[in-house]
Amino acid sequence: MTFLTKPSELKSPTSIKGLILGDTNNGKTTLALSAPNPVLIDFENGLSRVSKQWQSISMQCKSFEDFLNFLNSKEINQFKTIVIDPLGEMADQIKAYVIKNDPKSSKDGRKLYPAIGNEFKNVWTILKNKGLSILFVSHTEEILKNDVESLKIRCEGSFIKNFLPTQMDFVGILRRKDYNGKTQRFLDFQKNETFTFAKRWRELEDIIEVPTNTIENKFLTNVIWKNWEEKNKKEEEANQNYDSLIEELKTKISSIDDVDTLNLYYSSIYNQHEKLWNSHDMEKAFLNDKVKELDCTFDKKTKEFVSNKKEEVKTEEAKKSEVVKDE
């Protein structure tokens, strides 16, 4: 029995962490509720704005304590996705909670904001450990910086704003375009100077059209989650192939036990395999270790490795013969 796991044996996470941004009333909450089996943590009565047929089970959150209690209850286990909406209101409730628990030090902004950050980090750790998918929904604001409009998360406290997006698997903005009386909506994951913290995994398109719901509200499940699963499947396969290749290279190089075999490997096998990711660098590293182990150096002229030991032996022999000559 082993306690250890190879990277390729690690199962890819089935849960996704995402942040959906957008203007008020453009359907962010409805979109978030299209994730698999969601529960809405409703910090600002947003469910009332969602069409009846797309509504989900929710927790009408009046305080941060309510939310913490829910996280610690068994009720949460029946869901696959937790939707927190909106992030800014959640941050406000954390602030109220911190002030309530430590009114004295909360009067000092230098203590209050780090305390809010720490509380957020704690709840983030609890949320992650639940193993559920987590979706945050947030309003945005635009700030002009160096003549460039820059998109920001509408939320108090810079820690949450800076920390959260970097923890997400995707950060996208739901945009709306109206023309010829038709409305089209897009999820935009395109990182640029306006939207500096956009995020997606490599296999996801930069911009994806979000269709209007007719029969069901399943866009995130059918498109984003499906893409995530396919990506994970491919990644697992690639990881297995990579590990087999590295193991093969390692075994071949570790079986080299003299300079002649080393030269044979270098001239006919080295750098010949079909490269996968950093496999050639790994091969080079294994070979360097072997070169050190066999105590040899590379002769650039002959393009062969030469044993340093032989040199030493020769030198000693030469010394002996010199001694004999002197005598």
């Binding site: 490599r202 990579y242 660098d281």
Partner: protein, 214 residues
């Protein structure tokens, strides 16, 4: 025609000089010229902290003994945030290769360049670069040429900046894409365009940045 060396440090130094709003123009220029002259200079306090952060991560992640010793030194509960950050960063790069070089030739018009870089860590399909900063802002490295050049030279699919202020950490992800060569060309062209109007800098570039691989 000479082939010139282009590194992320050079392009970033130029961009920093052009966009800098914090230092005086003279200080900014002095920093830019120092990079162009390839002079060795004493690292600033932030740079020194970055070196120390990288060294610590390297030390702990490169040997099982050091890793175990670090874990054993932590209390069973109430682990401090900076230690959690260290553990996460160490686990991310553990098993990777450190300080590998990458290079690739690039032609812009008739001029040849050799793109060159030294990567902090390369592990499986990802290049990692460790950054220390005392004031992190989202998308801080969006404009950096480092991820572009390393991704282009290696052909690897992913690049991550592992950023820390010693206490917290942030990760910025970048991916290889079809337009990466054009993005690099555009950055180099901007730089070359600037040199046309800065005789001193141009002279330095033309004398100090000639590639030995001609």
């Amino acid at each position: 025609m000479s082939k010139y060396l282009i590194t992320p440090t050079l392009i970033n130094a130029y961009q920093y000089y052009i966009n800098d709003e914090f230092k005086s123009p003279a200080d900014s220029r002095a920093d830019f010229l120092k990079t162009l002259s390839k002079e060795k200079f004493k690292p600033s306090e932030v740079m020194q902290k970055g070196i120390e952060l990288e060294d610590t991560i390297k030390e702990i992640s490169s040997s099982d003994f050091a890793h175990r010793s670090f874990c054993d030194s932590l209390p069973e509960d109430n682990i401090e945030q900076r230690d959690i950050t260290m553990l996460i960063l160490v686990d991310t790069v553990k098993g990777g290769l450190w300080q590998q070089t990458c290079k690739k030739e690039l032609k812009i018009g008739n001029q040849e360049f050799l793109l060159y870089g030294k990567m902090d860590v390369i592990k499986r399909d990802t290049i990692y670069d460790i950054k220390f900063t005392s004031n992190y802002e989202l998308g801080k490295f969006l404009d950096s040429s480092q991820h572009l050049i390393y991704l282009y030279c290696t052909g690897l699919p992913k690049f991550q900046y592992l950023i820390s202020d010693g206490e917290n950490y942030w990760i910025e992800d970048y991916y290889n894409h079809a337009n990466i060569e054009n993005e690099i060309k555009s950055k180099i062209s901007d730089f070359l365009g600037y040199l046309e109007n800065d005789k001193e800098a141009k002279e330095m570039f033309e004398t100090k940045w000639i590639s030995k691989q001609n």
